[in-house]
Amino acid sequence: MILTIEGLTKVYGALRVVDDVSFTVPSGDIVGVIGPNGAGKSTLFSLVTGFLDAAKGQVNLDRKPIGSLSPVERARSGMVRTFQVPREFSHLTVWQNLMAATPKQSGESLTNLFFRPGRIREEEDMNSQKVDAMLDFLRLSHVAHTPAGRLSGGQKKLVELGRALMTGARLILLDEPFAGVNPVLIEEIAERIRELNAQGIGFLIIEHDLGALTRLVSTLHVMDRGRLIASGVPAEVLANKQVREAYLGGTS
């Protein structure tokens, strides 16, 4: 699943929050976007996922423009986002969170419930096995039956990842997956992302924190005041003088 962004622009009054940004997330790649606070990273995400409308520019998924699709339709076509402050169905257990996101359930309809209970049971068993395997993979099995609202921030980020994967997403957009997560869990999350990527799932990751991200991504884009100021392999980008001034304030 290839994501192409062309000349994306968002204006609030006189402020160009996102200014003519273009880049591509090749199929099955991990691409990162960094930048100081207020650089326009989150706005860029909302434009790509359809939560905000762009003033100018185009978003293409597998070379087809998706600018007219709603966030739901974009999610259905295989591109799912997570949130900077993780969102979960807080009163549902972790297991139920993932089960709820499994697509195409005939148990969605009340009439099926009464007239085709056998088929629903079969589907439930099948989906439940998938969810169990996913929880196992995410190392969340021990909290499977805990209400998701009670988890730690880092665990919630894993639940978000799991829910995105259960919907059948092929490209996952992570909004600051490492923010507010303890260092041990950061490595865990990074490791899961690598393993999923090895299975062909693409990632576009926004981060404020550089450490874990630079080791994860193949391409790094730097935003500052709405514009893309540098792109390339992480080592090169971080050596760039303009980047160091904008992002690191000139110090090493």
């Binding site: 996922t49 966030p71 739901v72 999610a75 259905r76 799912v80 986002r81 969102r87 979960e88 169905f89 807080s90 009163h91 549902l92 139920q96 969170n97 089960m99 709820a100 996101a101 697509p103 359930q105 148990g107 969605e108 309809s109 009340l110 419930l113 629903i120 589907e123 439930e124 829910r163 919907t167």
Partner: protein, 288 residues
């Protein structure tokens, strides 16, 4: 003492009716996010359908089942015609629309079934005497119906895929949508469920008292009170609060008189809300 025991049984019965109506209100509130004033008139319509079907077939059970199905159908039709189009509007807009829906349902009921009060034709049965307390066998049957209805609703909510998705939408509608949960499917299930629960409450109320076009509308205020008392959006709370209010009302009657019994339940409501603003079971706004 026996008189109080009999009042308490009466209170439990009317409490179950109020509790079921409050359950229907709280389900809609938790997921569609507005107070549905058409709940009462859906009760009335269910009662009338049950009354005429049981008159035609001679079976109150068949009548009740058809009444419940009619309630579900009304819920789904009203959703498609009105509330689907108002999705995303403010809860006040939806509440006002539901008051309009209530009037329309009542008018249709009046046209079809006319305005005289009617009663369910039930065989007269001698009450049982248990420890000198009179117990109507029909009360026991109605209590069983109420318990079965509750069991079905809670099974659907907590043990089926559609219930899981309903609770997911109640929890975070935006997140549900981008997790691929179809809001329309969930809403159809919700309205069918709430409609049939309302209708069962209406049938029970009709069997206990009389069937009139205003019966459901008159139940709306106590039902809202129970939904709020239980913690809005909380199904178990709605039932418990309904039973609590029903029992307190009936037990208070000898002291305050028939006229003021409704006021008593609002006094209880006020006291509870002063101590616990989110209701008996509520933890925060929204549903679970």
């Amino acid at each position: 003492m026996t008189a109080y025991a009999e009042l308490m049984i009466g209170g439990l019965m009317s409490g179950l009716v109020v509790g079921l109506a409050a359950l229907a209100i709280t389900l809609v509130f938790g997921i569609a996010r507005f107070a549905n004033a058409a709940t009462g008139d859906t009760m009335t319509a269910g009662a009338y359908v049950a009354l005429s079907v049981s008159g035609a077939t001679g079976s109150v059970i068949v009548g009740g089942l058809v009444g419940a199905l009619a309630g579900a159908a009304i819920g789904v039709v009203v959703y498609f015609l009105i509330f689907r189009k108002l999705a995303g509007r403010s809860s006040v807009a939806n509440l006002l629309a539901s008051i309009g829906v209530a009037f329309i349902i009542r008018a249709i009921v009046g046209v079809i079934f006319e305005h005289q009060q009617q009663v369910f034709q039930l065989p007269l049965v001698r009450p049982w005497r248990i420890l000198d307390i009179r117990v109507q066998p029909s009360d026991l049957n109605l209590a069983i119906v109420a318990v079965l209805t509750l069991a079905t609703v809670f099974l659907i909510l907590y043990a089926t895929p559609v219930g899981r998705r309903m609770r997911a939408v109640a929890d975070d509608p935006g997140l549900a949508r981008i997790s691929g949960i179809s809001p329309t499917r969930v809403m159809i299930a919700l309205w069918a469920l709430a409609g049939s629960v309302s209708a069962v409450a209406g049938v029970m109320y009709g069997i206990k008292t009389v069937v009139t076009p205003e019966m459901g509308w008159d139940m709306l205020l106590p039902a809202f009170a129970a939904a709020i008392l239980g913690g809005i959006g909380h199904p178990v709370g709605a039932i418990c609060a309904g039973i609590l209010l029903g029992t307190i009302q009936e037990m208070a009657t000898p002291f305050v008189g028939f006229t003021y019994k409704l006021a008593i339940s609002f006094v209880v409501l006020l006291i509870v809300l002063l101590v616990r603003p989110s209701g008996l079971f509520g933890r925060n706004e929204g549903a679970r």
